[in-house]
C-alpha cells in the first residue's frame, strides 16, 4: 500500500490479509478484511480504531500469533506463518510484540534480571555465562530508563509504567528489528503514558527498528507515528502520513474520531459525538461498513463497498466521496 517517501523496502508487509474467527454452527466472523500495511525500518506506523475494529487481531496476525485466512504477512521478504504452539523459528525472533498489560506479560515469580537473561539467551541464541548475562541485563535496564540494581526484584514491586519498561527491555533483549506494540500505554497512569510513548519513540529513532503502534489514543499516535492507519470494522479506511491526515482527513470516520478527542486546557466544550455504536462484526452493514453512522452517507454507500482511492501519493481513503487532491500551494 503506501510507502514512505524514502521508498525503503518494507521490513514488515501485511498484504491483503483476512482474519476470520470460526464460530460453531455459524458463519465465521471476519475480524480483518483485506488489510495491507507496511512498516519500514526506523518508522512508527500508528494503527487506530475503536474497540472491536480488528486492530489487535491485525497486530497479532502481523507477528504470527493468529493465522491469516487469506493474504500473507512478510517479514524481511519471508512469509510469517502462524506458529501455533511451535517454537518460533530463529528468522522471526527479531519480530517482537509489546502487550497492553505489563503485569500479565511478565512472570510474577521470576526475578526481573532472570527474565531478561532468559530473553537474551532464548531470543538471540547467545551462550552467556551469568556475569556476561548480568552485564547485558544491566545495559538493557538502563536503556529503558531503569536502574541496573533492580535486577534482583520481582514485577509486583513496580508500578505499571515501570513494568512496561521492563517488558520493553525484555523485547529489546532479543535485538528486534521490528516491534508490534498493542496498546502499550493504555493501562498506564497519565504521567507514565507520556514516559513510555517517548521511550518507544526514542528507541525507534535511536536503533532504527520499525514499529507498528496500535492504540485507541489518537493524540499519542499523532504525536509519535510517522504514518497513521485508521481501521473501522475490519477494514482499513484511511492510511497515510500522520500530519496531513490530521489536518485534512479524507474519510468521514477519521474526521469523527479526531473530533471526538476532548481537548484539555481552557474549557473547550463537549467533543463531537459519533452517533450509534460500532456494529457487530458478525453482521456488518452492507456497502460501506461505516454508512449507518456516517453523516455524509448517500444512496450508493448502502450498496457499494468503496475501493481505496489514492487521495495523494501514499494516502488512501476508502470513501466514495474521496477524490484525488490536486497538489496545490502548501
Amino acid at each position: 500500500m503506501s510507502v514512505l517517501p524514502g521508498n525503503a523496502a518494507p521490513l514488515l508487509a501485511v498484504e491483503d490479509v483476512d482474519v476470520a474467527y470460526p464460530r460453531r454452527g455459524q458463519a465465521p466472523v471476519r475480524a480483518v478484511i483485506g488489510a495491507s500495511i507496511t512498516v519500514a525500518a526506523g518508522e512508527i506506523v500508528g494503527l487506530v480504531g475503536e474497540s472491536g475494529c480488528g486492530k489487535s487481531t491485525l497486530g497479532r496476525a502481523a507477528v504470527g500469533l493468529v493465522a491469516a485466512t487469506a493474504g500473507q504477512v512478510r517479514y524481511r521478504g519471508e512469509v510469517v506463518e502462524a506458529m501455533g504452539r511451535a517454537t518460533r523459528p530463529p528468522r522471526l525472533r527479531s519480530l517482537q510484540m509489546v502487550f497492553q498489560d505489563p503485569y500479565a506479560s511478565l512472570n510474577p515469580r521470576r526475578r526481573i534480571g532472570r527474565q531478561l537473561a532468559d530473553a537474551i539467551r532464548l531470543g538471540t541464541g547467545a551462550k552467556l555465562d551469568d556475569a556476561e548475562a548480568g552485564a547485558r541485563v544491566a545495559a538493557l535496564l538502563e536503556r529503558v530508563g531503569l536502574s541496573a540494581n533492580i535486577a534482583h526484584r520481582y514485577p509486583h514491586e513496580f508500578s505499571g509504567g515501570q513494568c512496561q519498561r521492563i517488558a520493553i527491555a525484555r523485547v529489546l533483549a532479543t535485538d528486534p528489528a521490528c516491534v508490534v506494540a498493542d496498546e502499550p500505554i493504555s493501562s498506564l497512569d497519565a504521567s507514565a503514558q507520556a514516559q513510555i510513548a517517548n521511550l518507544l519513540a526514542g528507541i525507534v529513532a535511536g536503533s532504527g527498528l520499525g514499529m507498528l503502534f496500535i492504540s485507541h489514543d489518537l493524540s499519542v499516535v499523532r504525536k509519535i507515528a510517522h504514518r497513521t492507519v485508521v481501521m473501522y470494522l475490519g477494514r482499513i479506511v484511511e492510511s497515510g502520513v500522520t500530519g496531513p491526515i490530521w489536518h485534512e482527513p479524507a474519510h468521514p470516520y477519521t474526521r469523527a474520531l479526531i473530533a471526538a478527542v476532548p481537548v484539555p486546557g481552557a474549557r473547550s466544550g463537549l467533543a463531537a459525538e459519533l452517533p450509534g455504536d460500532v456494529p457487530n462484526p458478525a453482521r456488518p452493514p452492507s456497502g460501506c461498513r461505516f454508512h449507518p453512522r456516517c453523516p455524509e452517507a448517500f444512496d450508493r454507500c448502502r450498496i457499494e463497498d468503496p475501493p481505496p482511492v489514492e487521495v495523494e501519493p501514499g494516502w488512501q481513503s476508502r470513501c466514495l466521496l474521496a477524490r484525488p487532491r490536486v497538489a496545490g500551494p502548501k
Binding site: 497519565a190 507520556a194 489514543d217 478527542v261 459525538e273
Partner: protein, 335 residues
C-alpha cells in the same frame, strides 16, 4: 457560587489497614459540590481518588478509619449505621463504576437489575418500577427501552452497557452521582456521548456529579471545578478552566505538559519523571517533591499547607511556579 452545596467534604482522612500497619490513603481532603455542578477529581493511581469516592458511599474496606466530615445535604455520612447508609446509598447518592461489564450482573435481565432497587428504595409497585426503568433508559437514549428491559447485558456494546449502568444509578433520582472513571473503558466516540449525557443530566435534572478521571481532556470538557489529588492530599482545587488553563501546582502543570496535545507537533511530550508513590513509599515533606522540577530543600521537609490563592483557588505548594524561575527541564533528563 449561589447554589447550595449538595456535598461538603471537610478535612476527610481515611486510613487503610495494610500489611505494614495503618496508612493514610486520603489525608485532609476538602471540597464541595453544588447543585447541578460537576466536580472533577483528578489523580494517578494511589492518589486517593477512589478511596475518597468510596467513603462517600460507605463502601470503604473493612478496618478503614475515617475522620473529618462528609455532609450530604447537611447530613453527616461518616459514622452512619449500615441501615442508615443503605437509605442514602443508591437512593440519594449513586455510583457509576469504571467497567460496565462488571457492574451489571451478567446473568440477570436488565429489567430485574433496574427495578429491584427502585422497589426497595421507593416502594414502587412492579409496574411503576418498570415504567421508571423505561423512562430512565429513554433518558440515556437507549433505543427501544421496552425490549432492552428483556435483554441481558452481553447483548449490548460497552457504551450501551455504561448508559444502562447510568440509567440504573439514576432510577431512584439521586441528587449526587459518583462516577469513577466512567469513560476510561470506552472508545473516544462513545465517551463523547456519555459526557454529553452527564452534562445534560445536570442541566435538566440538577443532578450533581463527582467525576473521577485521570483524563484531563475529559475533565476540561465537562467539569466546572477540578480537584487534583496527589499522595492522598489536595494539590490544587478550583475552577476547571483556570486551573487547567493556568496551573499553579507543579503536579498539575506537569500533567498538562505531559499531554500529547499540549506540546508542539513534532516535539516530544514532556512527562513527569518517576512514578506516583504508594502508601508504603510516601515521601516526607511535600509528597510530590521527588518528581518536582521546582523542588527546593524545604520541600523535602515541610508539608505545604493548602492555602487560597487568587480566584478562590486552593493550592498546596510553597513555591509558586508562576513567579519562580524557569524550570530546568534538562536537569531531569530524558528527551
Amino acid at each position: 457560587m449561589t447554589r447550595a452545596p449538595v456535598l461538603e467534604v471537610d478535612n476527610l482522612t481515611v486510613a487503610l489497614r495494610t500489611a505494614r500497619g495503618m496508612r493514610r490513603a486520603v489525608d485532609g481532603v476538602s471540597f464541595t459540590i453544588g447543585e447541578g455542578e460537576i466536580l472533577g477529581v483528578a489523580g494517578e493511581s494511589g492518589s486517593g481518588k477512589t478511596i475518597t469516592a468510596l467513603s462517600l458511599l460507605g463502601l470503604l474496606p473493612i478496618g478503614a478509619r475515617t475522620s473529618g466530615s462528609v455532609r450530604f445535604q447537611g447530613r453527616e455520612l461518616l459514622g452512619l449505621s449500615r441501615k442508615e447508609l443503605r437509605e442514602v446509598r443508591g437512593k440519594q447518592v449513586a455510583l457509576v463504576s469504571q467497567d460496565p461489564a462488571t457492574s451489571l450482573h451478567p446473568l440477570l435481565r436488565i429489567d430485574v437489575q433496574m427495578t429491584e432497587h427502585v422497589r426497595a428504595h421507593l416502594g414502587f409497585s412492579k409496574e411503576q418500577a418498570r415504567q421508571r426503568a423505561i423512562e430512565m433508559l429513554d433518558a440515556v437514549r437507549i433505543p427501544d427501552p421496552e425490549s432492552a428491559l428483556l435483554s441481558h447485558p452481553h447483548q449490548f456494546s460497552g457504551g450501551m452497557r455504561q448508559r444502562i449502568a447510568i440509567a440504573m444509578a439514576l432510577a431512584c433520582e439521586p441528587r449526587l452521582l459518583v462516577a469513577d472513571e466512567p469513560t476510561t473503558a470506552l472508545d473516544v466516540t462513545v465517551q463523547a456521548g456519555i459526557l454529553r449525557l452527564l452534562d445534560q443530566l445536570r442541566r435538566e435534572r440538577g443532578v450533581s456529579v463527582m467525576i473521577i478521571t485521570h483524563d484531563l481532556g475529559v475533565m476540561s470538557t465537562v467539569s466546572d471545578q477540578i480537584c487534583v489529588l496527589y499522595g492522598g492530599k489536595v494539590a490544587e482545587y478550583g475552577v476547571t478552566g483556570s486551573v487547567l488553563g493556568q496551573p499553579r501546582h507543579p503536579y498539575t502543570e506537569g500533567l498538562m505538559r505531559s499531554l500529547p496535545s499540549a506540546s508542539q507537533a513534532g516535539s516530544p511530550m514532556v512527562p513527569i519523571q518517576g512514578a506516583p508513590p504508594s502508601l508504603d513509599t510516601m515521601p516526607g515533606g511535600c509528597a510530590f517533591h521527588p518528581r518536582c522540577i521546582w523542588a527546593r530543600d524545604s520541600c523535602r521537609l515541610v508539608v505545604p499547607t493548602l492555602r487560597v490563592v487568587e480566584g478562590g483557588r486552593w493550592l498546596a505548594c510553597d513555591i509558586d511556579p508562576l513567579h519562580g524561575r524557569e524550570p530546568d527541564l534538562a536537569e531531569v533528563g530524558e528527551i
